[in-house]
Symmetry: none
Subunit: 85 residues, 4 copies
DNA sequence: GGCATGGGGCTTTAGC
DNA sequence: GCTAAAGCCCCATGCC
């Protein structure tokens, strides 16, 4: 009965509690979506696809094409500068 | 085979594309939730709360929930590992 | 008093404690090395190198060359099958 | 200066190579420690201990150490966020 | 505006 | 081989 934060005469505590609970609810939703994503990868795997490769493609599609090319360019530059095939 | 755009006789490409698009849709949903969370923090900030402190509290509440379960587990573990079945 | 594990007449608890402490010591050493690695990346960055690219090269060097090529091949296959440039 | 594959006038390549080799050396050391840890678990197993339980205990001890610090932090955080400076 | 810190997501590895 | 957990990487935020 002495819990700070849920007495009607502690408006600040109440408000804070409401914010926290809304955030925690969204965290749950976010986790549910993460689980859905995992489930889809499981399906794809069950259909014979290479999950790692799909993840890589999804990642590539989400990135700026120029940025990807520039990154690959510098990797090649470094590789040649150290005599790597 | 450069079936650009995916022909109906490229069943594999079609299936793969479906998987990828479902994943990307979920990524969008996940991002929308992340934005909602940020929005709530913005509200809280506007109401005079310390966003960093709230984040810390939310984090600790999440960890504490796990800690309770783990504590119960360790009691049994200690007992069994020292032969106190 | 249930101070299990540090009485001289509890040989099992003592032995267990020794194992745990040896492990924890190694965990500390491992962390020190991880910190050293981060420090080197910091040096490289200070010398004008692209840290992300170096990490990628280190990763490539640690992997089997054939495996890398095979992975890249399947990614290209998937990309073409969905009409991705 | 005698390294095959890069000339002494390729100072950048040399420097990069040095960074990479230092990192790879640390990776090896880190792996050696990981092997040591596995070895200790093997010893413990040979002495009749439950490896999984020990790992769990080590993990919890690590987390508990953090939890103590975080607990002290949260007390202040709660106080300040509800205006109990 | 760069830097350091922390949180979230991804990858990889260990165990079943 | 699959699932769970640990380490790593990246990004977003706060600080200097």
């Amino acid at each position: 009965m002495n819990d700070i934060g849920h007495n009607s005469d502690n408006a600040t505590g109440n408000e804070l509690k409401q914010f926290i609970e809304r955030i925690e609810r969204l965290h749950e939703e976010r986790k549910a979506i993460a689980d859905d994503i995992k489930e889809i990868y499981g399906e794809a795997k069950g259909r014979g696809f290479d999950v790692k490769a799909i993840k890589h493609i999804v990642s590539l599609r989400s990135k700026d094409a120029n940025a990807v090319q520039e990154f690959e360019a510098i990797v090649e530059l470094y590789k040649s500068s150290i005599g790597m095939a």
